[in-house]
Structures are given as C-alpha cells and as structure tokens.
C-alpha cells in the first residue's frame, strides 16, 4: 500500500523532453518507480530507408540537438566501412576536434541542468554563460552552433585554418580556467555536495549487469570508453586518459564529467597542434555496395551504436540507432527506489538523458490479428472520433480550419 502515486511527466518542469515516470510515494519516499518511453518517436530510422545516404546524413544529424556530430559520425563510419573508404587523416583529426568541442558543450550543458535540478540556478547561469564560448567557437568553425553539418561521406566539408585554430586554443584556455573553478565549487560547496553525494547509487555490479555506458558507468569504476577500447577518427594517435571515479553516485558522475572536460581540452590542443596536412575528403561512390556494418562512437552521454545495412543502391536497406540513453535508462528505476522525491530530478538528470534520441516504439501483434494500414485522411477521422467518444469535440474547430 502506497499513499500517493505521482506522475512526473510526460509534461513536467524537471524534464526537458516528454517522458513518463510514475512514482509511488510513501510520504517523501519513493517506494516504486516505473519509466515509460514512447512520447517522442519520430520514425527517423524508417525515414532513412527512403532517402539517399547523403540525405540520411543530415537527417541522422538531427536525432539529437546536443550530440549531433556523434550521430552523424557514427552513421558515416558504418557507411564508409561499407563503401571501403579510408578518410584522410586531416579529416579524422577535424572530426575529433569537433567531437571534443561537442563533448565540452554537452558536459557544460549538463552541469547547468544538474544545478537547476537541485535548485542551484546560479550554477546554471554560470555554466551556460561559459558554454557560449564553445558554441561560438563551433559556429566559427562550422557555421552552426548545433547540427554542425561538417561531415560528409569520405571526410569533412570545412577546414580549420591556422588562425581559427589559434582562436580555438584561446577559447579552450578560458574554458579550462572556468572548469577548474567548477571542480573547486563541486569539491567545496556544502549544500551541493549534500544534494549530490549518496544519491542515485549504482554499484559496479549494477553497471555491469544493466549495461550502463558513458559517464554513468565510469563514475562506478567501469572504465568503458569507445575512444580507448575501439579507437575511431584520430583517437588512436592522441594521448588522453579515461576518467573513472569510485563514488558510484551522482556526485561521482559530476566529478567524472568535470574531469572529462579537462581531458577534452587536452585532446583539442593535441589535435590542433599535430594536425596533418592533406585533403579534406575522398570521393565517395553514389551507390554503396551491399553489406552490413556496425559502428561505435563515444558520445558525450556514452556509447552510441549505429547499424547500417546496404543493398547496392543509393539508399540504405536498414538503419538502426541505439542512443546511449537507452543503455542508461534501465538504471534510473533502480536508482530511484528508496530515495526521496527531492532526489528524483537529479537522479534522472545524472544519466544526462536524451529522450527523443532514445525513443522507440514496439507494437505487439497477436497471432490472428489483422494488420491495419491507415491512410492520413482515415487517421484524422479516427482521431476526431476518438476524442468525440471521450467528450471532446473537434469537429467545429475542424470546419473553421479547413485542413
């Protein structure tokens, strides 16, 4: 018997995207938590099958607004493997630089969100102001603050000039100073530490059995990082460390992300200093030979997996995306149990969820059930009838709108 059942989502101020968490509360304590996906399914995987590879590239980039480069690079790696393309080394380095700048902006964004979730809005304002530095750098390098569009099949579309590289280094220096300040804040601010430590505990064993990825796993002492385990782009030639932490809680995840920022700055400096000369892209064929490929990429939130199956034409046969949040979302229900309601927003935020990237739909078909295909017009009529049977009449609205 639980006293109160409280819905958090699909619409709730703690969540930036629609997602449903149902909590059974006893007083302020969460007794049971269940997570439901499926409010934001956009059918991108299916849409990819009807478009050419180069069109898919831009569609895939829009899976996520934050880690757009992660998805597009991951997809391209699979396509390039199928086409047997070897990208120029300079392109690999540019991809790595953009990837790390993206990680920086994603982690700074997360820091602000985490601050907001525990009612520390000052941290939100500070870290998002600093995030402007990296967004401006990205805009200078690629023309866009998000959805950079720098990738193309076989390489990249824009070069990084020496002058631009100096600008980037200058921005990175400023950010490094700020990051060290945040690490100091995280280690000294007592209310922040009280709110973060001991919350959302996930043991090493839980990480291994639930298959968590990214900073969530690394904060529990599991050093999973695709950049080291299966190097792609230029990571094989760059020197950096995989940050792990033994706190196992939200505090540990905060420290891991902050320290990863420092590693990212290190990578950016190295890559810009040692950038090899050469062309930006190799010519890619229009039709990709038949085959299938799986590609992995360490997105800011964890391991991103793309699967592409080609059939010899200019359109893929099947594209499958597993965003890192899908691997991490299983841990949330476990972390929420026996915690206070006040911890719920930060526990959810601590995996750095990206719900629309991870959203998927499953339909269960019964054996003798007939499959129904509805046209757009039928679907509209069905919707109007569905609402009318529940006492909401849209027909008047419909007449006036003349859809």
């Amino acid at each position: 018997m639980h006293d109160i059942r409280i819905p958090v989502g699909p619409q709730h101020p703690a969540l930036k995207e629609p997602e449903s968490f149902r909590l059974a509360l006893s007083g302020e304590k969460i007794m049971e938590a269940s997570v439901r996906l499926g409010y934001n399914h956009r059918g991108i995987e299916k849409a990819c099958e009807e478009r050419t590879y180069i069109q898919d590239l831009y569609l895939i980039e829009r899976i996520c607004g934050i880690c757009s480069h992660a998805h597009s690079t991951c997809f391209l790696q699979a396509v390039e493997e199928l086409a047997g393309l070897e990208i120029p080394r300079r392109a690999a380095y540019i991809r790595s630089v953009i990837a790390e700048l993206e990680r920086v902006h994603s982690h700074l964004l997360w820091l602000g969100v985490a601050g907001h979730e525990v009612g520390f809005d000052t941290l939100l304002m500070y870290s998002w102001k600093d995030r402007e530095i990296v967004l401006d750098l990205l805009a200078q390098m690629t023309g866009n603050r998000v959805n950079y569009g720098i990738n193309t099949i076989g390489g990249v579309r824009r070069d990084i000039s020496a002058a631009l590289a100096r600008e980037v280094i200058k921005g990175v220096d400023a950010l490094e100073k700020r990051t060290r300040y945040y690490i100091e804040v995280a280690k000294e601010e007592p209310t922040l530490i009280n709110r973060l430590s001991g919350v959302g505990v996930l043991s090493r064993q839980d990480v291994l059995s639930l298959g968590a990825v990214g900073p969530t796993a690394r904060a529990s002492g599991v050093g999973r990082d695709v950049r080291k385990d299966d190097p792609y782009a230029a990571y094989g030639e760059l020197d950096f460390e995989v940050i792990t932490d033994k706190h196992n809680d939200v505090y540990g995840r905060t420290l891991v992300r902050l320290k990863e920022l420092l590693e990212s700055y290190k990578i950016i400096r190295q890559a810009l200093d040692n950038m090899p000369e050469g062309q930006l892209a190799v010519k890619a064929p229009r039709n990709i030979p038949a085959g299938e490929a799986l590609s992995r990429y360490e997105a800011p939130r964890g391991e991103d997996v793309h699967y592409v199956k080609s059939n010899g034409t200019d359109k893929p046969d099947r594209v499958k995306v597993r965003a890192p949040t899908l691997a991490n979302i299983q841990t949330v229900a476990l972390m929420l149990e026996d915690r206070y309601l006040a911890d719920m927003p930060i526990v959810v935020a601590a995996i750095d969820p990206c719900f629309s990237c991870t959203d998927r739909m499953i339909s269960l078909k019964q054996k003798r059930q007939r499959r129904r295909v509805m046209r757009w017009e039928e679907l509209r009529v069905y919707g109007i009838e569905w609402y009318r049977s529940r006492g909401v009449d849209f027909s008047r609205l419909n007449n006036s709108l003349k859809l």
């Binding site: 409280i6 709730h12 101020p13 525990v118 000052t122 209310t191 709110r195 911890d343 927003p345």
Partner: protein, 313 residues
C-alpha cells in the same frame, strides 16, 4: 479619524506597503540576476507581472473547494498587511502597539504558511497537496529558531511589545550587538519563511511543479505573489526593528532613509544567500534547523538572560 484611516490605508499602510513590496521584489530580482551574470528585469517588471495576472481569468479546479481556494490569498495578504501596522519602522513607536504585540506579529506572519497549506490542500491536485504538506513540515522546522531568536532580544528588553524593544535599545545604544548571532539565525530562518532557496522546498519546481501555487492562476496567483513580496518587506522590517534598532531618533527624512537602507540591506543578504546555495532536501533542512539553528537560538536566549542579569545589577 481621517488621519488614522490615511495611515492605515495609504502611508505607511497598505498602498505604501504594496509599492514598497514591488520595489523590493525588483531589487531582489535584479540583484539575484546581476550576481548570476544576467541582465535582470527592468524596474517596472513586478508591476507589469501583477497587472498581467490581474487581467487574467482565475481558473478554479473542479475538485477544489472554491471558498477556501479563493479566500486563502486574501487571508494571507490581509494578515501580512496587518502585521506591518504593529512594527516600528523609522520611529520608536509603531502605528499600533500594546504589550504582547510581538506574539501577534509572529502569529500574523505564520498565517501565510497556513494559507499555503490550506490553499494547496483544498486544490486537490497531487502537486499542490505535496507542496502543502511540505510547507507545513517546513514551518515546524524554522518557526522555533526564528521565534526563539526574536524572543531573546525581547527578553533582554524585558517587554512583550515591539515598540518598547526599540525604546529600550535606543536607551542602551550598542546593546543590540549582543543579538547579532540571533540576527544571523533569524535571517537564515527567514529564507524558510519566505520559501526562498535553499529552503524553497514547498515550491521546488523541478520536483512538484509549483507546490501550492500549481493550480492558482490569474488574480488569485497575483494576490499570492503580491503577498510574498509584501511578506518579504514586513519580515525585513520586523528584523530591522528587533535586531537593528539604531538611529530611530533621527529627524524624519534621514530616519526614513536609514530605515530603507536597513530593509534593502536585509533583502541583499537574502538575495546573496539564495544565489550561493543549492536547494536542501526536506530531511536535510529539518536536521539543520533542529540540530544547529534551534540550539544556537537557545544559546542566544541564554546570553541575553546573562546580560540582563549583569545590567540589573
């Protein structure tokens, strides 16, 4: 009769209080924004917010008790405005005064919390109910240290009247310095009373949307927000009367400026505190108030009793 009505309704009564409340809200928001590297609102933003809310429809939930739902903001505002009449502002005497008015003022300032509880409870929304429970739980945490620290100052003055407290401290200049620890405790607990970070637990937006205020909208929400602005001014005035009772015999314009300075100084400290802290959890707050603040307030009472004995001799 007319002068009495004027002082109750216009100056330094309700009209002055409302204007002061809006100015204080602007000051608080601007300061908070500047400390967060933001631009902050223009000076008329609180007025504009209020006018906008006043022009909107008030929607009352179907399951809510309409009487209680509508009455609570009015009750809260009325009680806070009444409390203001008993507080000495820039003179040694308050508008109204009798022996025992400290208790009345503290009681009046507790009514908004009860209004939050009842308003939230009778909204029947799940978030409002949780917010209502939280505001009542929080009340039990901060009320004792706040009351104890105010009573400590009153004990030293040997009176139950705010007017006589200020008279006593004017006669014994610099004695108010003894109460400074109590002042610090009162400021911290005031954050709980005004539901500001780190004690904005009853309206923690990322957890329970807006707590009690979730179902409120339009004029009723406007009145609640006005009440919160006014409550901030009244509480600051109470603290300045009890803990900063100096310069009260100055001439009218100078004394008034000094009074404004004290109020804005207290509001600045409140803004600073809500800038630098994260929101506490309810259990952390109760532990903090009972295990740290309440004993400190009792120590303050003890200090005042000892000083009183020394003076009497």
């Amino acid at each position: 009769m007319l002068t009495a009505l004027f002082s109750i309704l216009v100056f330094p009564g309700v009209v002055f209080l409302v204007a002061f409340g809006f100015i204080a809200e602007f000051y608080d928001r601007k300061l908070y924004a500047r400390m967060q590297n933001r631009v902050g609102p223009p000076w008329f933003q609180p007025w504009a917010d209020f006018i906008k809310l006043a022009g909107k429809e008030s929607i009352i939930p179907e399951e809510a008790n309409p009487g209680v739902f509508k009455f609570m903001p009015v009750l809260a505002f009325a009680s806070v405005a009444s409390a203001f009449l008993y507080i000495p502002l820039w003179r040694e005497q308050a508008l109204l005064s009798f022996n025992g008015d400290i208790i009345v003022v503290v009681y009046f300032l507790t009514i908004p919390t009860l209004a939050f509880f009842l308003g939230g409870w009778y909204s029947r929304s799940i978030y409002s109910t949780l917010g209502a429970m939280r505001s009542l739980t929080q009340l039990f945490a901060y009320e004792i240290p706040l009351l104890a620290s105010i009573l400590a100052a009153a004990l030293l003055a040997n009176t139950w009247s705010l007017g006589e407290i200020t008279v006593f401290y004017s006669r014994h200049p610099w004695l108010w310095v003894i109460n400074l620890p109590g002042f610090a405790i009162a400021i911290i607990t005031l954050l709980g009373k005004l539901q500001k970070v780190p004690f904005d637990i009853p309206e923690a937006e990322t957890e329970i949307v807006a707590g009690t205020l979730t179902e409120y909208g339009g004029k009723l929400l406007g009145l609640f927000r006005l009440m919160m602005d006014v409550e901030m001014v009244v509480c600051a005035a109470l603290l300045s009367a009890v803990f900063l009772p100096f310069g009260l015999s100055l001439a009218a314009p100078l004394g008034f400026v000094l009074f404004l300075f004290k109020i804005f100084a207290i509001i600045s400290v409140l803004s600073l505190l809500r800038t630098v802290f994260a929101r506490m959890r309810l259990d952390q707050m109760i532990n903090f108030c009972w295990k740290l603040l309440a004993p400190c307030a009792l120590v303050q009472v003890l200090i005042d009793l000892i000083v009183k004995g020394v003076i009497a001799r």
